[in-house]
Structures are given as C-alpha cells and as structure tokens.
Amino acid sequence: MSPRQKRRLAGVLVVLIGLSAASALALNAFRDNLMFFYSPTEVMEGKAPPDHLIRIGGLVADNSFREMGEDLTVRFVITDTAENVPVEYTGVLPDLFREGQGVVAHGRLGSDGLFRAERVLAKHDENYMAPEVAEALEAAGYTGHTGDGGDYDR
C-alpha cells in the first residue's frame, strides 16, 4: 500500500471507531426512551410516570381473563411473575391474545392501581412449531417452550 492509501485506511478506521463510540454513548444515554414498554416490576417501583400514556408489557396471567359485559370490555392481569398489574380494556383483541401470552398494553395507570388500556398488542415469541408438537410438549408437562414472550424479567 502506498502512504496515501495507508492514510485513507487510517481515516476510514478513525471514522468508524469514532462513530461506534458516539452511537454507543448516545444509545446508552437514551436507553430508557428506547424501551418500548415497562415491566410490571418497573411500574410498581414507580419508574413509569403516573397519568401519562405508557406501555406495559408482560404475560397475561393464567385464569385472570374476565369479560365484563356486552360492550367488549375485558379485564385481565399483566404479570412478569414478580409483580402484577390489573388491566381494563374495551375493544377487539389481536388474534394471538390469550392467557400465558406476551402482550403490550398502551394506556394510563389510574390512582386506584387499575391500568386503563386504549390499545392492546400481542407480542409474538420466537418459537415456531407444529400444533401436534406443541400438544405433545404440553402433555409431557413441558411448558418452558410455549407462551413465553421473551424477557419480561428485566
């Protein structure tokens, strides 16, 4: 390599290293803002601003789903296995919504501790399998693979 090419190579490397450092610092500084949702534990710790529109993510707790009447109003509990947040929602739920499934609810936390959701999204997990396999796994008492929406324990 000629001296000029070496200088250019050094230039490209300096630009790349500088950019990596800058974006690492910037992303770290905005870390909390880049989170799509709060976990129930974070909400209980008071990390989520009250009376603001926030998102809460977690699993729909088993046996917590109730239909409240004729007008599509439902109540359920979002859990990260450590803490629980009761949620009320009126509207159509996505296809993947069920107990044990990961969901993200968008709404406000009332002073009575009830989270009033304006929108509920289902979070899909990264597992793909045939229905027969899922049934066989469940029959064998192996539930670690199903319905786990990812890292809610953070």
């Binding site: 090419q5 250019r8 190579l9 230039g11 490209v12 630009v15 790349l16 950019l19 990596s20 974006s23 992303l27 870390r31 880049l34 989170m35 799509f36 949702f37 976990s39 993510g57 159509v92 739920l93 996505p94 296809d95 993947l96 919504f97 499934q101 993200v104 929108r119 509920v120 999204l121 289902a122 979070k123 899909h124 997990d125 990264e126 597992n127 793909y128 399998m129 045939a130 229905p131 027969e132 396999v133 899922a134 049934e135 693979h145 199903t146 929406g149 990812g150 890292d151 953070r154």
Partner: protein, 247 residues
C-alpha cells in the same frame, strides 16, 4: 490469489466473467425459490399459535437478512473505494443499492401485513422497526447522493462515505431486540441453545434464504455490467464488443 483479484478488477475480464455466471446464478435462484416456496407453503405444518399466517416468514425473514447483508457488501465496497479508489468496487456498490432498498422495503411491507392480524398494529415505533426504517432511508440517501453529483467517480466517493458511516446501523438492527424491550420478537434461527423452530419449517426458510442470495448475485451482476458499459463506453474494449455485436 492476488493475481485473480487483479484480473477481477479489470473491467473487460469482470464483464465477461459476470456474463458467464449470470445464467447459472439465475437458474439456481429459480430452482431454490420453487422448491423453497413449495415446501414452505404446502409441506411445512401450520404454526401452533399463528396458524397459516406465519408462512409470511418465508418472504419476510430472508428479505430482512438480505437487506442487512447487502448493506454490509455496499459498505465494504465503499471502504475499498475510499481507500484504493477501485473502479469495480464503485460499480458494485452502486449496483447493490437499489436491490438492497427493494429487500428492505419488502421486509417492512411483509412485516406490516403480518403485524396487523398478529400484533394488532400495522406499525409500532419499537427499536427494531425504527432501525430497519432508517436502513431504508440510508439506501435511498445513497442512491440520491450518487445521482446528485454529475461526475460518476466523485459521486461514488461521496456515496461511499455515506455507506461506510451508515454501517453502524447494522449491529443496531441486529441487536435491537436484545438491547431494548421491543414488540418484535427475538432471533429464532441464530440462537445458540435449543432450536426454536421445527426442522420442517426451518429447511424451506434456509432454502428461501439461499434463493434470495442467488437472486442478489444475479441481479447485482446484471446491474454491474450495465453500469460498467455505461461508464466505459468510450474505451477500446467496449468499442470492440459493440463492433462484434454489430457484425
């Protein structure tokens, strides 16, 4: 080894070699697409939760992978352009950009179609979707910058700098689902522990991935040949080529 690279860098040699490779790559791509789509749409079982709708993965995941792969190719070519001023690297980077932009758009559009019934939303501003959208803008910016400057070689150098700077977005896209809470799920195929996808579903997925790779190889060589002819139209080897085609 070095001799091969030097030969490859010579436009007439590359033009002829690419011309010979294109039909092969094109046929392999076609074969893989037919087999992959058949296995994916008709042989693989439905998913235990999503039913038939998960089959969009056979288009969505390979196009998302390709959108990142092509960007890395473009950035490496860009670095070569900036350091060694190699003409062929300019041509390859310029030829790659529209294909990469196409794959990025395909991944965003197919994900959106899947997101509405599954998540309940066409679009959310989570870290994965947002960083992928930025990738689309990087591709479009590269193409716009290249065509905004009249002199092809200066244009390629300016666009190359953008490609190299933008490569920082690639690890951010890849790790976004690990670093932050996102609505988009985590990686399935590249996980190191237990396989998260049935083998009967994984095989068509990998076939489609290879098919998309060969599509890129075919398309980029065709585009690179055109770009080469256009740039070298005043040189002796192109004139000789034209004379032979005319005769």
């Amino acid at each position: 080894m070095w001799l091969f690279f030097h030969k490859l860098a010579s436009p007439p040699y590359f033009y002829a070699l690419a011309g010979r490779l294109i039909p092969w790559f094109g046929s392999i791509c076609l074969l893989l697409t037919v087999v992959g789509l058949y296995l994916g749409f008709f042989v693989a079982p439905p998913d235990y939760q999503q039913g038939e709708a998960y089959r969009i993965i056979y288009v969505h995941a390979p196009s998302a992978w390709m959108s990142m792969f092509i960007y890395v190719v473009m950035a490496v070519c860009g670095a070569i352009v900036l350091i060694w001023r190699m003409k062929l690297a300019e041509v390859m980077a310029v030829a790659s950009a529209p294909i990469g932009a196409g794959f990025t758009f395909l991944s965003l559009a197919s994900g959106s179609l899947w997101g509405k019934p599954m998540w309940g939303a066409w679009w959310v501003w989570d870290a994965r979707l947002t960083s992928q959208l930025i990738l689309l803008f990087l591709y479009l910016g590269f193409m716009a910058l290249y065509s905004a400057i009249e002199d092809r070689r200066i244009a390629a150098r300016a666009a190359s700098l953008l490609a190299v700077v933008g490569v920082i977005n690639i690890p951010i896209i890849h790790f976004s689902v690990k670093w932050w809470n996102t609505l988009h799920q985590g990686p399935t195929v590249t996980r190191l522990d237990a396989p998260a996808i049935d083998l009967s579903m994984l095989i068509p997925l990998l076939l489609m991935f290879l098919a998309f790779k060969f599509y890129y190889a075919t398309a980029v060589l065709i585009r690179a040949r055109h770009e080469l002819l256009l740039r070298e139209r005043a040189t002796a080897w192109v004139r000789k080529l034209l004379e032979r085609a005319g005769a």
